[in-house]
Amino acid sequence: MLKVNNIDVFYGNIHALKGVSLEVNEGEIVTLIGANGAGKSTLLKTLSGLLKPKSGDITYQTKQIGGKPAQSIVKSGISQVPEGRRVFANMSVEENLELGAYLRKDRDGIKKDLANVFELFPRLNERRKQQSGTLSGGEQQMLAMGRALMAKPKLLLLDEPSMGLAPLIVKQIFEIIRMVNSQGTTVLLVEQNANMALSIADRAYVIETGKIVLSGTAKELQESEKVKEAYLGGV
């Protein structure tokens, strides 16, 4: 579904991604784990068109999307939940969700998806008129995910959904990711919480200082000595 081939991304002179390649197949949950500054968010931003790769190519379905503007990438069915949630704080929950469907024209479909989002996140339904800046961190994360789902993505990019949330809420969020996936949305999940991420993923990649250093099925990585040592808290 998505194939990243040998991309290089720079911030000015800083070489942030060095020849990264990865692949996401339809229906999978793929996770990308790595430490701070490894290049996880950079990769997601490049996929969603917020950054442009200097070389290499990104193929989505059969189209080239590397370096395309964000709006055309969203239109083709990739939507991103940005790091740190970034809800539109002065707008109501409902307005946030409506903006998620910004590029869609099918009113009936939008209505149906709104109902679906409220079913996935009953908490948002309770607070649909509330200003989203006043929601708790967990609720904002749910809103950010709901907003991304409103674009009816085929591929959902999640950037650290566990950031700054209590373990119990993290568990809920991951449960919902699994649910979204079972409804037919492919997921690429970027995480620092390697344990949680590997527990729901089909396959995983480990990124270190801009390079993919390990890849395999989630199970393989969970058992790999190297990953255990670096991310899962010792042997």
Partner: protein, 312 residues
């Protein structure tokens, strides 16, 4: 249904205000001095509302608004004085010229953010002013003589059109796009909103109506000089928007009315005028740091017809 009812209500209100003031002018109750203040007030409202769409709605901190006003003023003055075109056509020409200038300035500068954008817009406005200083065709630094053609009717019509277009834009799908840029640009980008496009659109619309205000301004004081449109003028407009409350159209209008009358009445106290003016600003900012209206609209408070404007 409800919406059209509210629209009808506002139209009647607008007509009544016009009729009352026009009646008072014809009845001699408003002399030419106060007429002049009324026109100035209308110009200030147009400037404030047209900057409101850039700063208040889209969140782009531009402090070069006087530059676009200057473009509108000069182009409309050239149209009437050099080509003998009627005033109404001159206003349209001024608006188009200012809009084109906005587009030209907006495309490169709106890639910048925050302080950098503010500095760049300030710089562009000064460039526009310096260009007029150095063009002999428009009189250079000495200025250009313009016949008095503006009156209350033109100014009021300008205000109504400005408010109508900008409030409709804000409440449309495009307005939502602009508001989302203000709220969080990265999230807006991630939602597939073409943020650069909306920033340029808002900037251009703002410039167009600054051009209308400039056209009416040019034909109100017999002469226009480049120094009138320096950065202090830009700050005056900025003050109106901040004072009214960032994000509130009605706030901008109220602030413009308020400031026009304050400076008109303070004209009698020439020495202390700027001190009192500054004190008023400081007091308002101390006690109402979000501006007179915050982000609310007056329609939300009055519940006049439709339940609140949806423009946050």
């Amino acid at each position: 249904m409800k919406k059209s009812k509210a629209f009808l209500g506002y139209s009647i209100l607008a007509l009544v205000i016009y009729a009352v003031v026009q009646g008072m002018i014809m009845g001699g109750m408003i002399d030419s001095y106060y007429q002049n203040i009324l026109v100035t007030m209308c110009i200030n409202i147009m400037l404030a509302v047209s900057l409101h769409i850039v700063i208040g709605v889209t969140g782009q901190f531009s402090i070069g608004h006087a530059g676009f006003m200057a473009v509108g003023a000069y182009f409309s003055a050239i149209a009437t004085m050099e080509f003998g075109l009627p005033f109404s056509i001159a206003i349209v020409i001024g608006a188009i010229a200012a809009g084109l200038a906005g587009l030209l300035v907006g495309i490169p500068t709106l890639r910048l953010k925050g302080d950098y954008l503010a500095i760049a817009t300030l710089g562009f406005a000064e460039i526009i002013r310096i260009v007029f200083v150095n063009v002999d065709y428009v009189g250079g630094a000495a200025g250009m003589a313009v016949n008095q053609m503006s009156n209350w009717t033109y100014a009021y019509l300008g205000v109504i059109v400005t408010i109508l277009v900008i409030s409709n834009f804000t409440n449309s799908r495009h307005g939502r796009g602009c508001i989302s840029v203000r709220e969080d640009e990265i999230a807006a980008d991630a939602m597939g909103i073409n943020t650069t496009y909306y920033k340029v659109v808002a900037f251009t619309i703002g410039a167009i109506f600054a051009g209308v205000a400039g056209s009416i301004f040019a034909h109100n004081f017999f002469i226009i000089q480049p120094t009138t449109f320096n950065f202090l003028k830009s700050f005056d407009i900025l003050i109106l928007v901040v004072l009214g409350g960032l994000g509130s159209l009605s706030g901008s209008v109220i602030a413009a009315v308020f400031i026009t009358f304050i400076s008109a009445y303070l004209a009698n106290f020439t020495e202390t005028r700027m001190i009192i003016y500054s004190l008023v600003l400081i007091l308002v900012m101390l006690y109402r740091p979000t501006g007179l209206m915050g982000t609310k609209e007056i329609t939300q408070m009055l519940k006049f017809g439709k339940k609140g404007g949806s423009n946050v």
